[in-house]
């Protein structure tokens, strides 16, 4: 965990001899930041440690606790230190690593983990007889706090350690953790905290999160390691105009893997992971052990890959953000990211996965998947060289999480509203919570919080004569316990293999042999022999989003777990699949990038594009492309919005280049088409990618703008965020999805559990219908407010769109062109590839009705 430090023995007086000797025996000496944390802890001050990977961060966090526990006289006095990790696997990993120094120093300390996997017997024992140090996850902490014995369990708590704090604060999980932390501070007034974080853009926000606004936690910064060596693939191939994969460069990626000890190949989505994995497999002449790792795969398969990694049995792992965080999986010396990294902090974090040694630079190579991404990769490499960070800002606390927490607190015991309100305001994200909003959340928990007070008699929590709120009955507690947490997966269906259907696609004949660490191979021949009727007998391969399966008809083939599968049918909450014979999946499962381009990188890309002086470092094909754009149209200036219009194939196109990420562009596209339609310009559709947006119409928007019949500045005016937005939100499928997750987190409806099947129809409640009813009758209801807040940052990215519209006001450049511009080519190529959102729904029905007409005519 700690490597030899260059500096000599400093003022180590705080460190007991036992510890000094241990360091010395290993030829180490404690690092400055480790001693600084120890010093602060002894002064009972909270601290934030910002350190790069490999700096002995974990030991630094635990050192104060280990020292205190070692100096303790007599028996254990209950729980001393609580460690919270965003990943279950990380908690387990850290516990293992902590056991080593504890054993070597013969410390009498009990270190235990508590996760969803911990046995009931052990959980009960932990409550009765807690360990000195407990390592757990935010959800488990919530559950512990929502029980009657929380006071007894945590009353003795001295210290709390938050690992990977940067990865958790800017999320609903972070909100829940902040609320629980505020409650812990109430139970254990002397509690001090240590936050461990990678480098972030705004450390002060984290310091306030740990301490208070008036008294933020102290900041300790470990020296940065050697600068990472990040390069962009200098491809021999022709760079694609659009798309999201690395098929064009797969040979070069393969060569890099071959020359590395172990490589991690990061991609942004599960579907990309599947595609890259399959492509690598096709070129795997040498039979290299290459594995696949993503969140949808069955947990046992993921463990298998992780173990193989730790044992250095693999040459490469194709993975998604599931491997982003700090687990030390072995000897990775090269990180390859396919597709642009979307943010410099994300890139730094991923680079940190290679070479956990401070003195050696990490190596990373970016493989852009299209020409625009070349610009983005270039911007990201520069940002990394400058150490520039763009981690998301800590935001205001989510209201649905607040509702969940209030019920949890009632489950722990009766409370006075005034006390709970004061306590909640101590949680950083809720510092600005008004009493009015708190009361609305309280009433929501009690009886739904509707203006029409008809549910009082069914209330979940009730106000007692003594002025305290008490939970109505045990069922309420039980239901809360089942629904704790803020992670609402989009509905997932289990993928079950029910028929062999021939040989596994990837292990089939004619393919290179090698070790394939994917379900296809691990499954072996045992399932291949399975034939016969559709039954539940098959093996579960993992889980897949319901919305993806909605697009498939039985017989359609798709990629999952490294194989080509064909859908047999959907039975309750399981998708039954068979192995398919085909070479290529029929349905490409790419559904856009998961992470939007960060505003920071977007600004850099705009700057790069606008300044030909900076193009020296770009590949010649890209420079040529940009020069052509310069000739045929104009390069988008850094601080203005370029809009091009041109006609093509009987349609009129409008292409804008805001560089604000797909989500904001999609929302903008919805709003612009509405407006164009109202103005009689007959828009037909639009498509958005990370960089640009194209709208096509029957009428010539460009000519209308040139003649003055239409005003571009009016078209892009900020007031589209008023009525147009309202009208659209009403029917937006994205908004309904957002509402659904708020309804689950707040406890309005119960979570659907995989495996707990719908017993007959109508047991599940359609939150879409609830949304419609609520919007109509109580548009200010707290749940709609929660959904709206989410939309601002989440699926609709309204906040960013609003910023952009403000920025470009009076700064539009319109080019009416005779034909398509070079810069417009990538977005034009995406037309027809993208899925449709809400707007076009009736179109689908009309189209389907036409089939019926055609059928009638032909018969």
């Amino acid at each position: 965990m700690t490597k030899p430090a260059k500096r000599g023995a400093a003022a180590q007086s705080a460190l007991p001899a036992q510890f000094q000797n241990w360091f010395a025996a290993r030829g180490w000496s404690p690092r400055a930041h480790q001693l600084a944390l120890l010093d602060l802890a002894q002064k009972s001050q909270s601290a934030l440690l910002i350190a790069p990977t490999g700096a002995g961060k974990t030991l630094a966090g635990f050192l104060p606790s280990l020292v205190e526990i070692s100096q303790r006289k007599g028996k254990s006095q209950g729980l001393h230190t609580l460690y919270i990790s965003p990943l279950k696997a990380l908690a387990v990993d850290v516990a293992r690593n902590l056991d080593v120094p504890a054993a070597e120093m013969s410390l009498s300390v009990r270190i235990e983990t508590r996760t969803g996997d911990t046995s009931t017997a052990k959980r009960q024992r932990q409550r009765r007889d807690p360990p000195d140090i407990l390592l757990t996850t935010p959800e488990q902490l919530s559950l512990l706090l929502g029980s009657a014995d929380a006071q007894a369990l945590f009353g003795s708590l001295k210290r709390i350690i938050f690992d990977e704090l940067h990865a958790i604060v800017a999320s609903k999980r972070g909100d829940l953790l902040a609320l629980d932390y505020a409650h812990l501070r109430h139970i254990a007034p002397g509690l001090t905290a240590i936050g461990l974080s990678a480098t972030v853009r705004a450390p002060d926000a984290l310091r306030e999160w740990l301490g208070t606004r008036a008294q933020p936690a102290a900041l300790v910064t470990a020296p940065a390691g050697a600068l990472p060596q990040v390069t962009m693939l200098d491809t021999r191939e022709r760079l694609p105009w659009s798309g999201h994969g690395a098929a064009y460069a797969i040979g070069e990626v393969y060569d890099m893997i071959k020359s590395a000890k172990m490589a991690l190949v990061f991609v942004n989505t599960r579907a990309q992971a599947e595609a890259v994995f399959q492509q690598l497999w096709h070129v795997n002449e040498d039979g290299l052990p290459i594995a696949l790792h993503h969140g949808s795969l069955d947990a046992s398969q993921r463990r298998r890959v992780e173990e193989a990694m730790a044992a250095s049995k693999l040459k490469a792992v194709v993975c998604t953000s599931t491997l982003d965080l700090g687990i030390d999986w072995g000897d990775v010396d090269l990180v390859i990211t396919v597709g642009a990294p979307k943010g410099s902090s994300r890139l730094l974090q991923r680079i940190g996965r290679s070479n956990h040694r401070l003195d050696e630079p990490s190596r990373a190579c970016l493989v852009p998947s299209n020409r625009f991404e070349v610009l983005e990769c270039h911007a990201a490499i520069e940002a990394v060289a400058e150490g520039a960070q763009d981690t998301p800002a800590v935001h205001g606390g989510a209201l649905d999480v607040l509702c969940q927490h209030i019920l949890g607190m009632a489950c722990a015991g009766p409370f006075l509203a005034d006390d709970l309100y004061a306590q909640i305001c101590n949680a950083a994200p809720y510092a600005g919570l008004t009493r009015e909003t708190f009361d609305a959340a309280l009433m929501f928990v009690a009886n739904g919080g509707y203006a029409l007070k008809s549910y009082d008699r069914f209330a979940k929590i009730r106000l007692m004569p003594d002025g305290r709120w008490r939970v109505a009955n045990g069922k309420v507690v039980q239901s809360w316990r089942m629904n704790v947490g803020t992670i609402v997966e989009s509905d997932m269906l289990k993928v079950r293999l029910v028929r062999g259907g021939g040989k596994a696609a990837l292990a089939g004949a004619g393919r290179p042999r090698g070790t394939l660490y994917a379900p296809a191979k691990i499954a072996g021949a045992s399932t291949a022999a399975y034939t016969g009727a559709l039954t539940r007998g098959g093996r579960v391969l993992g889980q897949i989003e319901e919305y993806f399966l909605e697009m498939l008809a039985p017989g359609d083939t798709f990629l999952f777990g490294g194989e080509i599968l064909s859908l047999v049918g959907i039975v309750e909450n399981e998708a039954h699949v068979a192995r398919a014979q085909s070479d290529a999946p029929k349905v490409p499962s790419y559904a856009g990038g998961k992470f939007p381009l960060s505003t920071y990188l977007a600004a850099r890309v705009r700057r790069l594009l606008a300044s030909p002086k900076l193009w020296k470092a770009l590949p010649p094909q890209v420079v040529e492309w940009l020069k052509l754009q310069q000739q045929k149209s104009i390069l988008p200036p850094a601080s203005k919005l370029l809009i091009e219009t041109f006609a093509r194939g009987g349609r009129h196109y409008l292409v804008a280049y805001p560089f604000e990420g797909r989500l904001a562009h999609q929302t903008l596209g919805m709003l612009l088409t509405r407006r164009l339609e109202r103005w009689g310009l007959k828009p037909l559709g639009f498509v958005a990618n990370e960089y640009a947006l194209a709208i096509w119409s029957l009428e010539d928007v460009g000519a209308a703008a040139t003649s003055g019949a239409l005003s571009m500045s009016k078209l892009f005016a900020q007031d589209m965020l008023g009525d147009d937005l309202e009208e659209w939100l009403q029917e937006s499928a994205l908004m309904k999805r957002t509402f659904r997750s708020c309804a689950v987190i707040s406890g309005l409806i119960e979570r659907r559990f995989p495996g707990k099947s719908k017993s007959g129809r109508q047991v599940t409640i359609s939150t879409d219908l609830v949304y419609d009813v609520l919007r109509r009758h109580e548009p200010d209801h707290i749940l709609l407010r929660a959904a709206r807040d989410d939309a601002m940052t989440g699926l609709l990215d309204l906040g960013r769109l609003a910023d952009m519209l403000g920025r470009i006001e009076g700064r539009l450049i319109h080019k009416h062109l005779a034909r398509i511009s070079p810069l417009a080519v990538p977005i034009m190529l995406e037309i027809g590839r993208e899925p449709v959102y809400g707007e076009a729904q009736d179109e689908i029905l009309a189209d389907a009705a036409q089939t019926l007409l055609d059928e009638a005519r032909s018969s």
Partner: protein
């Protein structure tokens, strides 16, 4: 993002037609055992010959039924369903309204009606015949809500009952049919009528009534070569089953 211009035309036409005659927007005629019905975009079925309006599965007081279990759905579903029904009644001016079963979400539902909702229901019943057909959620006559109560009803040789049996000349509800219709561009899930020339199953009319995909096994054997009449925003689209997928 396909948004063919044609799709916006019917909407405009609807408004014009509706404004001119207060009559239903383009709706789909359905012939069941030689009787002609109109599948309305609201989900109601209209029989011009007897000036009868049929609605199924109102599920009134569904939200309050869930509230008993601590699931506080917005308590406005009954008001919303009745208001929608009032709008349809205004358009058609029916002589008779038939609620085809599961009119209340549970046996005590009628008793939980708020005074306001009870009043709107009375208003709706004024000057016309009102029939409650029994459903599995409301197998007994609801108390103090007016109207006649029966197990099934016969209209011009067609039998109206809650649960479809597959017999010829039958109108039913119960299953809450919805269709997920696909196009290369994506799919959309909507309530629908499902019919052949002898039978029709009505969509649920209630604001909070969910739906069951028409490809579910529950529909097996109930209809012969059915056609769907899918409720769009402003009109009904007749769609072949071949364009539908499971949920």
């Amino acid at each position: 993002m396909l948004r063919k211009h044609s799709s916006t035309r019917p909407a405009l036409r609807d408004r014009l037609v509706a404004g001119a005659t207060l009559r239903a927007p383009p709706a789909a005629p359905i012939t069941v055992a030689q009787e002609i019905f109109i599948a309305d975009v609201s989900g109601a079925l209209w029989h011009e010959g007897t000036r009868t309006l049929v609605v199924s599965d109102l599920h009134l007081e569904k939200a309050s039924s869930f509230a008993k279990r601590g699931i506080f759905l917005p308590p406005y579903d009954t008001a919303m369903t009745l208001a929608r029904l009032a709008q349809v009644a205004l358009r058609f001016q029916p002589a008779r309204i038939i609620a085809l079963g599961d009119s209340f979400h549970d046996r005590e539902g009628a008793g939980r009606l708020s005074p306001e909702d009870r009043a709107s229901l009375h208003q709706l019943q004024k000057g016309r015949e009102w029939i409650w057909v029994a459903g599995n959620h409301d197998p007994d006559a609801p108390q103090d809500v007016g109207g006649l109560y029966c197990d099934f009803y016969e209209l011009g040789g067609v039998i109206l009952r809650h649960e479809p049996t597959g017999a010829p000349a039958e109108l039913a509800g119960h299953l809450h049919p919805v269709a997920r219709v696909t196009a290369p561009a994506g799919s959309v899930r909507r309530r629908c009528f499902i019919s052949d020339d002898q039978r029709c199953i009505l969509p649920a009319f209630g604001a909070l009534a969910g739906g069951l995909n028409i490809l579910d096994a529950a529909y097996d054997g109930l209809l012969q070569a059915p056609v769907l009449h899918v409720l769009g925003r402003n009109r009904v689209y007749s769609v072949p089953v071949t364009r539908c997928v499971p949920d």
